[in-house]
């Protein structure tokens, strides 16, 4: 528990350091909170005063005295209400402003993480870093945190007032509560575990629901609804059970406070009467004490409830901070870096090797995480090559030979484990991202589209382009006919992830998007694998024409691309085994390329 608290405090401190905005006017807010808290004991004090000097005044109730007491208390209450209002408004405003900043910074940071880091996380968990986790912090800051603070203040002030009335009775109250505090702390531990279980069950539940939605087609095609229902029901039931268990522990902990209240009140009455008989306590003071005991119990009970919320919130905050603590391992050199020199781009790989980190599962060629200490097997070994500017290169090889890894190193989605990749003589780690991403564009096989129109997707990197310019660009790629055949042409919505289009059509849009970005080095990673051959060939001719004078590297599954390229680079098991124009390479039928080409002919001719 103590270590938990220590890390919780550590998290809060880290959070405050990262979001200095949270401290804006903190002193003022705390002062207001203090006043609002002190105001809370006004009523018990008023009761004491009214009972002792008003109601029980010698010679009957002294109404004048009571009017004075009531008027004074109303004045105190007005001040309290005003302070509480001001405190709330300041708190909401400051915390929401700071948290909008936290959300945005975390969002940006996640985009700045390397591709491998992004892919190692579940998509949903990245989203919750900028949504529900931040919501929990806000809950904590505005509600839980304040309540903890106010409750603690109320506890302190109440104790002080109690001490002023009678130190012995105060001791009685504390003694009555001491065993309960120990019990509550014990239950708190169990509660933490119980809420942890609830969170884990919610994760499983979300995954099960996600599968039933995303896999809807497969579930129907195989008629396995019953199996899916069984999995869902298990997850739903486990979630319900975990929730109820956590609640049971929470109620048990709360009930302890109630028992404590009874014990303390009874003890105060018994001991208080004995003290009162000696004349060291008045009726009013004793009555006020009874009210004070209630005011003492409330914060204890509320604190036990809020502490659970607080733990969730601190855990959420820690997750948000943790994601921001991950150093982007493929980082923008920023001001320390330089821009790529203008003009056509040439490529140099100097003894480049790459192995995926072992912690990222299934990236090795065999798809398993080999029991390597820090990294998996090398997928590229000692690649040493130069591609002259303005050439069109095709890279071919079997599945798993390392082609895609080459493309990722070339576009600096990853950094090599050994060796250097340079563009136009500048090592990639020195190139500013602003320059790199503008001049070098990659089209991945799965061309993700945003839920917008075709036009908005194509102009992604160049929002200033008009519809006419976009149409022209698509026409240049020979896609005008296809576009004209769509119901709304450029304005056709592509749907979520582009799913309103066929897989091949999505690739066409992704390619057009890269083309209008106007890069000097275009890297195509099987960018047309789902497009029909006639369209592909047309597209390739068009692309050749419009990218003339630039450098292109095309990773290809279909050797038609290799045939059209100036030069072919053949990779096999992570090494470059052949290089040269298609016409030359094909003369060696026993070579890797020779075999690939024979297989290609076999599949495309008959």
């Amino acid at each position: 528990m103590s270590t938990d608290t220590a890390t919780a405090w550590g998290t809060i401190r880290r959070g405050l350091t990262q979001s200095p905005e949270l401290r804006t006017g903190l002193a003022g807010t705390l002062a207001l909170a203090l006043v609002a808290t002190v105001g809370r004991v006004a009523v018990p004090v008023a009761i004491q005063q009214a009972v002792d000097y008003g109601l029980r005044a010698p010679g009957g109730p002294d109404v004048g005295r009571i009017v004075t007491v009531v008027a004074a208390t109303v004045a105190v209450l007005s001040v309290t209400v005003s302070c509480a209002y001001l405190m709330n408004v300041r708190l909401y405003t400051v915390s929401e402003r700071a948290l909008a900043g936290v959300r945005t910074r975390a969002f940006r940071h996640i985009h700045d993480l390397s591709m491998l880091h992004q892919q190692a996380e579940r998509r949903g968990s990245l989203v919750s870093r900028v949504t529900s986790d931040v919501d929990q912090i806000s809950q904590f800051l505005q509600w839980g945190g304040v309540i903890l603070l106010v409750s603690f203040g109320q506890l302190t002030v109440t104790t002080l007032v109690m001490l002023a009335y009678s130190w012995r009775l105060t001791l009685v109250v504390y003694l009555a509560f001491a065993p309960l505090v120990l019990l509550i702390r014990f239950l708190q531990k169990r509660l933490t575990a119980a809420y942890g279980e609830v969170r884990a069950r919610v994760g499983v539940l979300l995954a099960a629901i996600g599968e039933s939605v995303v896999g809807a087609g497969v579930i129907r095609a195989y008629g396995v609804q019953r199996r899916t229902v069984a999995r869902l029901d298990t997850a739903i039931e486990a979630n319900r059970t975990a929730q109820f268990r956590a609640l049971r522990t929470a109620v048990l902990s709360f009930a302890n406070g109630e028992v404590g209240a009874g014990l303390a009140t009874a003890a105060v009455v018994v001991v208080g009467v004995r003290l009162g008989v000696d004349g060291s306590l008045s009726v009013g003071q004793l009555t006020a004490f009874l009210f004070l005991v209630t005011m003492f119990i409330q914060p204890v009970q509320i604190m036990t409830e809020v502490l659970n919320e607080a733990q969730n919130a601190v855990a959420g905050w820690r997750r948000v901070l943790d994601v921001q603590d991950i150093e982007p391992d493929v980082a923008d050199p920023g001001d320390a870096g330089r821009d790529l020199p203008p003009g056509p781009i040439d490529i140099r790989f100097a003894h480049v090797s790459y192995a995926y980190p072992a912690t990222v599962p299934g990236r090795g060629p065999s798809g398993t995480s080999e029991p390597a200490p820090s990294s998996g097997p090398e997928v590229l070994s000692d690649i040493d090559l130069v591609v002259a500017a303005q050439t069109r290169v095709a890279m071919v090889g079997e599945t798993g030979s390392g082609k895609t890894t080459f493309a990722k190193l070339l576009t600096r989605l990853m950094d090599p484990t050994r060796g250097t990749v340079s563009l136009s003589g500048v090592p990639l780690p020195e190139v500013r991202f602003g320059s790199l991403r503008r001049r070098v564009v990659m089209v991945p096989q799965d061309g993700f589209l945003f839920d917008a129109s075709i036009a908005d997707n194509v102009r992604f990197a160049r929002p200033e382009l008009s519809d006419d310019e976009l149409y022209l660009a698509l026409a240049e790629l020979g896609l005008a006919d296809w576009l004209d055949g769509l119901p709304d042409g450029l304005r056709t919505p592509v749907g979520e992830r582009g799913e309103a289009l066929s897989v091949g059509e999505r690739q066409l849009v992704a390619l057009a998007r890269a083309y209008v970005a106007d890069p000097d080095l275009l890297v195509l990673d099987e960018a047309t694998s789902a497009v029909d051959p006639a369209t592909e060939v047309r597209l390739q001719r068009a692309l050749d024409a419009v990218t003339r004078g630039r450098t292109t590297v095309a990773i290809a599954h279909r050797l038609s691309t290799a045939q059209a390229a100036d030069e072919v680079i053949v990779v096999d098991a992570g090494r470059v085994v052949q290089r040269g124009p298609h016409a030359v390479l094909v003369r060696e039928p026993e070579s890797v390329y020779g075999r690939l080409y024979a297989s290609w002919l076999e599949q495309t001719r008959s």
Partner: protein, 601 residues
């Protein structure tokens, strides 16, 4: 959402009524607990008054401990406290049980609807929305259930409190009569002011989440195009709107909360004032005044429960309506009662099939072709011509808007789901794997798919060696959406899944693009030569695959452009020839250019 205050209150109360009807027993338990808690809370005030009046005052006045009265007083305080604990368990556990049971029931109902509703309905709804319908919306709908019994108990308690006030002194009671309605009124005003603001914030929360989800989904595109700053600006704009909405919520909450806290204190002060006057008239004792004053203190907190319920109603109504949208959705795919008894390969017939994903945007018109039993038919056509749609229709994942799809001469609509699933196996273009073991992914718990069958299927799909090399073999978990597998491996596992069920008709939607053509040929040959055999409909671009087909159906703009053997179509259909000879022609053209270039040089 355009929810007016009045409407929300009415609708919200109806939702609560529904909850009570569905869980009457736990609700009864929790309300009994809550009422008992309320009554005991009032009792505690009177016990306190009595203790002051009968034990404290006499003892202190007489300077002698009134032992008996003190003992009774202390015992009464403890008894009330224990009673409160017992009722607390009833109230809170009952409320929790009710809330969680309703959540679980509606989650089951919503996810069952997902599985029953047709794929076309799924296509019309965003994944994120469906996820939140089954999760967050169900949760919101039943959110007010947690404080509901407390609130009901509080209402009973208020009535009892007013009653007890009148029993004590009618003038003091008037203070209560003034304060309690004011408290209720303030609570109602609070929830009215809050509801539109909370609804707006809720909507923006969903929008912020949607932007983040999409942006992280497309992280690779954002990264490769260097659009991080613009994406952050897009997100920051939404986050800013959410921030302003939350501050607006905070202002209302910040204003009402202190008043709600202070109102009972004003009641206490009023009691002191009125109590003094009444004492002078000899109508009440000190104990009475203390009791009533204490009553206001202990009531302050429970009255807030009514506010909590009211404050959660708008959210609840929105959640409930979203859940109802799913539960009330119609257009279930109705399965027939016919079965197919034949063994061996199944025949597939498309007869005048029309299809549209959205009205006015037809995808297929009058598609007619057949796959005779035991034959292989290749479906060839340009990008976006409707091939995947035909594959989905063949497995009856979607319904034709006109025309029929028949298996072995029986309209697919009149077949049972089991008959359909047992006959047709579709391997989609984009492979989907479950977060399960390799075995689970292949068998899907279908009857008759034992480990031998699994290994056979894996061998046919050429992933048996890969699986044999995994640490736990068939028991290896493949991870969420198969993240531990490469694209080609995922494709082969889904292929094995199709083969494992021994389908009589196999539909391959460009499902072997990552598989070596020789492997593909071996798979198709093995399928056809298997003991029972299968018919095959294959979406293909590869000449090698097309060559394996007995017939080719050429699709153009959603219509069957031509049917025949590859050689026939090649000779007679220019579009088809253009498509399948694209690579040769490109090569020939390059050759001509090369010769020309050389001649010029």
């Amino acid at each position: 959402m355009g929810l007016s205050g009045e409407g929300v209150l009415g609708k919200g109360l109806r939702v609560l009524g529904r909850a009570i009807r569905e869980e009457p027993r736990v609700f009864a338990v929790s309300v009994v607990g809550s009422v008992a808690f309320g009554v005991l809370t009032i009792a505690s005030a009177y016990v306190m008054g009595a203790v002051v009046g009968r034990a404290i005052v006499p003892s202190l006045d007489a300077h002698r401990v009134q032992g008996a009265a003190l003992a009774v007083g202390a015992a009464a305080i403890l008894a009330v406290s224990l009673g409160k604990v017992a009722s607390l368990f009833g109230r809170r556990l009952g409320a929790g049980a009710m809330q969680f049971r309703l959540q679980a029931r509606y989650r089951r109902a919503v996810t069952r609807r997902y599985l029953d509703l047709p794929l076309s309905w799924h296509h019309a709804h965003a994944t994120g929305v469906l996820l939140s319908n089954a999760n967050a919306d169900v949760e919101s709908a039943w959110y007010p259930i947690a404080p509901l019994p407390f609130a009901v108990g509080t209402v009973v308690m208020l009535v009892a409190a007013v009653g007890s006030l009148f029993a004590t002194d009618w003038v003091l009671a008037l203070v209560g009569v003034a304060i309690f309605p004011a408290l209720l009124g303030l609570n109602v005003a609070y929830s009215r002011r809050m509801s539109p603001r909370v609804t707006a914030a809720q909507r923006l929360r969903a929008e912020v989440s949607a932007v983040a989800h999409e942006s992280f989904d497309g992280a690779l595109v954002v990264k490769t195009m260097g659009r991080e700053a613009e994406e952050t600006a897009r997100f920051a704009a939404k986050a800013g709107e959410l921030r302003d909405a939350l501050i607006r919520v905070g202002r209302v909450r910040g204003a009402f909360d202190p008043f709600l806290d202070a109102l009972p204190s004003l009641g206490t002060l009023g009691v002191l004032l009125v109590g003094a006057l009444r004492m002078r008239q000899g109508a009440v004792s000190v104990a009475d005044v203390v009791s009533v004053a204490f009553l206001f203190t202990v009531l302050a907190f429970p009255v807030r429960a009514i506010g909590w319920v009211l404050a959660e109603l708008p959210r609840s109504v929105v959640g409930w309506e979203r859940v109802q949208h799913v539960l009330r959705a119609t257009g279930d795919m109705v399965y027939g009662s016919s079965t197919l008894d034949g063994g061996g390969p199944a025949a597939l017939v498309f007869d005048g099939v029309d299809f549209a994903y959205a009205e006015g945007q037809p995808v297929l018109h009058g598609v007619t072709f057949e796959v005779p039993a035991g034959r292989t038919v290749a479906l060839v056509g340009p990008t976006g011509s409707g091939k995947s749609t035909i594959a989905a229709l063949a497995a009856r994942l979607v319904e034709p808007s006109a025309g029929t799809v028949a298996l072995d001469g029986v309209d697919a609509r009149s077949l049972t789901q089991a008959a359909l699933a047992g006959t047709v196996a579709l391997v989609p273009q984009v492979p989907f794997v479950f977060d399960d073991t390799v075995r689970g992914n292949v068998t899907l718990d279908r009857a008759g798919v034992d480990d031998d069958a699994v290994w056979r299927a894996l061998r046919m799909a050429q992933v048996d060696r890969f699986v044999a090399g995994l640490p736990d073999k068939l028991d290896t978990m493949v991870g969420e959406r198969g993240t531990t597998l490469s694209g080609g491996q995922r494709q082969r596992v889904t292929l094995a899944r199709a083969l494992g069920g021994r389908p009589r008709l196999l539909v391959l939607d460009d499902a072997t693009s990552a598989v070596d053509p020789r492997v593909e040929a071996a798979v198709l040959a093995a399928l056809r030569e298997r003991d029972a055999g299968a018919s095959i409909l294959v979406v293909a671009y590869r000449r090698a695959t097309i060559a394996l087909a007995d017939e080719v159906v050429y699709l153009e703009h959603g219509k069957v452009g031509a049917r025949g053997t590859h050689a026939e179509l090649l000779a007679t259909v220019p579009g088809y020839a253009d498509l399948v000879t694209a690579y040769e022609r490109a090569e020939a053209e390059r050759e001509r250019e090369r010769v020309y270039d050389e001649a010029v040089l």
